[in-house]
């Protein structure tokens, strides 16, 4: 049952990438992809939450009655999200304001719930932790690519620093929500084409 650590990472980041293969959980984070810094903070929050929730649920898996497992999982996830939210409010108040309600929406992110439900309930704590961590990283990888493209083209900057000269005309569409869908669709297209070729 227990797979090797390296195998877990390869599986969760590439072969079963939550965004590309399962189109899961893009709601809470796609919204903040117009600035790379915001996306990075969100991705860190999501990865930590997924990893720690998987660990906790896996530790408690023998004690949780089957019927109430969903609500227990939600409690565990909400617990970590609240800690992350309070941490942001205390140490990074500006980013906390910019992210607004989206931090709370990590609770309903399908990836976190999906990993605890599908993996952590049936596997040992260490391996569940790695599975959660890997899924979070695989998810972050795609979202960071989207954010990089959107910030460079939409604002001509990266992490808030200008990288193009004064003559660069911002692509207004990249700031608008619609572009997030287009960019993600193209990334999906490229990844899937590569996968089909490999096979």
């Amino acid at each position: 049952m227990n797979e090797k650590a390296g195998n877990v990472f390869r599986r969760t980041i590439f072969f079963e990438n939550p965004v590309i293969i399962q189109i899961l959980g893009i709601c809470s984070t796609l919204a903040v992809t117009n600035k790379l810094l915001n996306t990075l903070i969100m991705c860190i929050g999501l990865t930590l939450t997924t990893a720690l929730s998987s660990l906790s649920v896996s530790l408690m898996r023998k004690a949780i009655p089957r019927k109430v497992r969903m609500i227990v999982e939600v409690f565990v996830i909400a617990f970590y999200v609240i800690i992350f939210d309070l941490f942001l409010k205390a140490y990074l108040p500006e980013i906390s304001v910019a992210l607004g309600p989206y931090v709370g929406l990590i609770i309903t992110n399908c990836i976190v719930m999906g990993r605890t439900e599908a993996y952590a309930l049936a596997n040992s704590p260490t391996i569940s932790f790695l599975d959660g961590l890997g899924s979070g990283l695989g998810y972050s990888l795609i979202l960071l690519i989207v954010a990089t493209i959107r910030e460079i083209l939409g604002f001509g900057s990266l992490f808030g620093f200008r990288i193009f000269g004064e003559n660069f005309v911002n692509w207004t569409i990249m700031v608008m929500p619609a572009s997030a869908f287009f960019v993600l669709a193209v990334i999906l297209w490229i990844f899937k084409a590569m996968m089909i070729k490999k096979r």
Binding site: C27, L30, A78
Partner: protein, 196 residues
């Protein structure tokens, strides 16, 4: 912000500030349940109802229970409990009184508990400081907006089913592009209503 009339808020949350197309809320079920118009319609209806009622309940709970006792940091968990409990009760009631409705709507109810849009609307309501009447219309409008978007998406997806789409783009890829174009179309409404 208290002066926006509920009616403007209702129309605004359908068109200018559409839940899925401008705030990315409820994306998971938006993509996975939009293959057939019939199921999309069922889920949309369920979302309208649950969203309106839970937003109202959450408004009352937040302003009468959480704020007076200084428990704002429990907001997330309390909102989730309210939504989950309401959906559970609703499921039992529908199952008891209308088996036909349960057959059509029942399977969508558990899905709704983890629909980000429901929790998202409740959180937006808190951040934007809406009153009770405003919140009800905001919830209703957002629900209708979500229903409109998912039914439109399902209709488009059924039409392109027979088309010759590049293999890697099939499924999620082309759906995302359709959603992108829909979002562009909805930008046409921007400026008609002022939401914040």
């Amino acid at each position: 912000m208290g002066e926006i009339s509920p009616f403007v808020l209702f129309l605004g949350s359908i068109f200018t500030g559409n839940m899925v197309l401008s705030y990315f809320l409820g994306m998971c079920s938006f993509i996975s349940v939009s293959k057939e118009i019939k199921t999309a319609n069922g889920l949309g209806m369920a979302v309208i109802f649950v969203m309106t009622v839970t937003t109202a309940i959450n408004h009352v709970v937040y302003h009468n229970l959480l704020v007076p006792f200084g428990l704002e940091y429990l907001t997330y968990i309390v909102f989730i409990i309210v939504i989950a409990a309401f959906v559970q009760v609703l499921e039992m009631i529908i199952d008891r009184f209308s088996p036909t409705l349960y057959m059509n709507l029942g399977i969508f109810l558990p899905l709704i508990t983890v629909n980000c849009a429901i929790l998202g609307i409740a959180l937006f309501m808190v951040v934007r400081n809406y009153g009770l009447i405003q919140s009800i219309f905001f919830g209703l409008g957002s629900g209708v907006g979500w229903w409109l978007a998912i039914v439109a998406l399902a209709a488009i997806r059924m039409r392109i089913r027979e088309q010759d789409i590049p293999v890697p783009l099939r499924g999620a890829g082309i759906t995302l592009i359709i959603i992108g174009i829909m979002a562009l179309a909805f930008i046409g409404f921007s400026g008609v209503f002022k939401l914040q």
